[in-house]
Symmetry: C3
Subunit: 318 residues, 3 copies
């Protein structure tokens, strides 16, 4: 670092090459990085921020990809930023990946319960409303994922991508079967992110009733697909029980079992276990799991159940 300064001072003032020996070693020669990877790393560090939106607006980040973020407490982590969709500035904070649709609240069901379907755990593992983190951005189509941004970032809207399982990052946008975002700023009334929303509306058995106690509903704007393609991703039977073009958080079924999210839809009946995901304890065991009972009664297409649900946050774009 210092030596490169000397190299430049030499250009400016000549003959200080004797001093060239001092440590540390140079990282630049004539203002260019000796190691281009280090240059890329420093470029990422220069845009260090609390969210992808700040990177875009304060530091001119325009490329989709992995950036470095920090929490309020100063925990550093890497996250994927979507800088393209509807103005960009979207931070990937979580993914819901079903590793075994027949495994009912088994290992890998981090958004419901890895403990089996246990009445002693009305909220299951509680991941929707705690600070546990798991997985990584690059593996978010192969494993459940939750980073510190999920609870740390202040947001108004969400963006949701459905990406076929095991698809690699570089192909996410092109392989997406459904992508949409909200513009209603609905998170403003719920504490500024899903962590706070689910503290307010717990994903807990018997915490409410079907219809009367739904947490939040917002209309969506489509980025890939539309209302019809959304409906088609679910089964013919399920299609009669919801309205597409919305996204819904925290619903109950007729057994008072809670689910976290209905992606792309607003339920109109009381069987959300066939078209909503995540959840706690279910009186009917076969409904328990990250993807609940989407495998039952041909409620959802293989295309949907074999895709991961990626969740992004964004504060109002300026």
């Amino acid at each position: 670092m210092l030596r490169c300064v000397f190299l430049l001072m030499c250009l400016l003032h000549l003959k200080h090459t004797i001093l060239g020996a001092v440590t540390p070693k140079p990282i630049l020669i004539n203002g260019t990085y000796i190691n281009p990877e280090l240059g890329k790393y420093h470029a990422r560090l220069r845009s260090l921020a609390r969210s992808c939106l700040e990177i875009k607006e304060n530091h001119g980040g325009t490329q989709d990809g992995i950036y470095i973020l920090t929490t309020e407490s100063g925990t550093y982590y890497q996250a994927f930023c979507d800088m393209s969709t509807a103005g960009g500035g979207w931070t990937l904070v979580a993914s819901v990946h079903e590793n075994n649709i027949k495994g009912k609240c088994s290992v890998g069901d981090r958004w419901s319960s890895q403990q089996g379907n246990d009445q002693n755990l009305p909220e299951g593992d509680g991941a929707w409303a705690n600070t546990a983190t798991f997985g990584s951005a690059e593996s978010s189509t192969s494993d459940d994922y939750k980073n510190p941004g999920y609870y740390d970032i202040t947001a108004q809207d969400v963006s949701v991508w459905h990406i076929p399982n095991d698809e690699q990052l570089r192909n996410w946008t092109s392989s997406a079967i459904l992508r949409y975002h909200t513009e209603s700023q609905f998170l403003r009334q719920h504490g500024g992110n899903l962590y706070h929303l689910f503290k307010k509306y717990p994903v807990r058995f018997r915490a409410g009733q079907c219809k009367s106690d739904t947490g939040a509903v917002s209309p969506v704007v489509y980025d890939t697909g539309d209302k019809d393609s959304t409906t088609k991703l679910y089964g013919p039977s399920a299609g009669k029980e919801f309205e597409s073009g919305f996204t819904t958080f925290r619903v109950f079924n007729s057994d008072q079992a809670a689910m976290a999210m209905c992606s792309g839809i607003k339920p109109t009946e009381c069987n959300p276990q066939h078209y909503c995901i995540g959840g706690g304890y279910f009186p009917q065991r076969q409904q328990c799991g990250d993807f609940t009972g989407l495998d039952l009664r041909e409620a959802a297409s293989k295309q949907l159940t074999e895709s991961s649900v990626l969740l992004f946050y964004r504060l109002e774009a300026h």
Copy 2:
């Protein structure tokens, strides 16, 4: 970085603005960080050390919070430092979090066994004496946590915090139900940390006998609570079987089942499964788990069983 040097050289020597174009981009203007988050990050890097005590003593770190540490081998990780209690310099290296008191050695019981109660695994998963790591500092009240400092840092004393589950970092101190530390330097005789202590005193079924083979006992100094409040956190029946004001590591019950830690107390009877935590195989299955049999016979209060046990290390403060 370089350009900012130029900016300053301009102030000093004038007119080198032509050179202003060279990469990399500046991170400072007139000696102030363009991106304050990067300034905070560089401040943390400047105090990079093997432990929080070194950060406090060698680099003037005085704020509680997340810092960057390194192991002897050069693995970098982030840890929480308590710079306030009894002189500060305490490194959070682990937390024991019970995700399901009724789940007996089930998924999430990383300090006992995630394999069920299995006689083929007399040490359970063995986490007390191996280098496996899991969780993160910010999620240590929502998940089991163990960082490389657990085996890498050389310490003499421990500090222990009992924090209600899911409490966020900023509220830990104010919400603690019990906090104490040792000053006996007991770890000096046991290899300098708990990793080495438990290599010497394995948490293994049949590795010893109740009372005669207890690993280590130390008196404690209270930072939150006292002997009476400690006793009250356990049940009335349990209270007759231990002396509070101590902390104990590696004990056996009358079945020769091993437990890792008795927090705030010294057992005087042979039923530690009701007031000590962690462990390996238990002849009585319902005693197996991160919080063993604390749920049985009203041995412990809900307040205790629904709090996480945070473990800190410190070498002698100078």
Copy 3:
């Protein structure tokens, strides 16, 4: 950073000490790091690269140990580099650790299935061919390990170390019971790493037949041990069913169950479940697990089943 530049400029040009007050604080005095740990960190950053081979060849890294790597997408991670064996430049990308030889596809069996032996999951958890990552370099003898290099690094050859469980990094080489590497560049024909090899040759029940559908075989060069010591690590019965001095990837048994890797050997019979590891669904449950049925029929020595299998990658050394 800047101030240290001033300190030097003062040495060179005198009297700019007034400016000495500007932030940020210095990290160097007279060209030497105030904090030696920061110096080590910057030295590691200077060699930031996509693989250990690049660190060795482009940045002069010659010491075995932990270095910082990046994926194509810009995810940063720490990995162990073997800079000594057969020219060095080997990147540790994974380890297969059996946490419970009797636990058949139970928690911790990340290279087979944590879901039990489930016919609905013919590939088990699918870790051999997806981008899920887990564990860390320093804990790769105490836990399963897979870093982003597994799918990101382009390689031609592999190196394999068998290290007793729970052995610490500093003792790996001296405690190894078997070490070998390939020089055949066999990965060139299979996409350049094991991730791509296993996409081509899935570790999936019924994806092929014993013998006719073996994925890849390569002769090996021994670094610790030899053909005889390899054979001895397996049981007397098993010894008649393979030829040592090779390493094999993706084989089937007579039930069409798939296994990922036969370490140090080439099967000549159709019972690889007794000498090959990893895998998906097994018609015979007791064969399912990271170490399959190595515990049955005294197929393998305790020395082998209680050691972790560390996997390294290397592109052709120049």
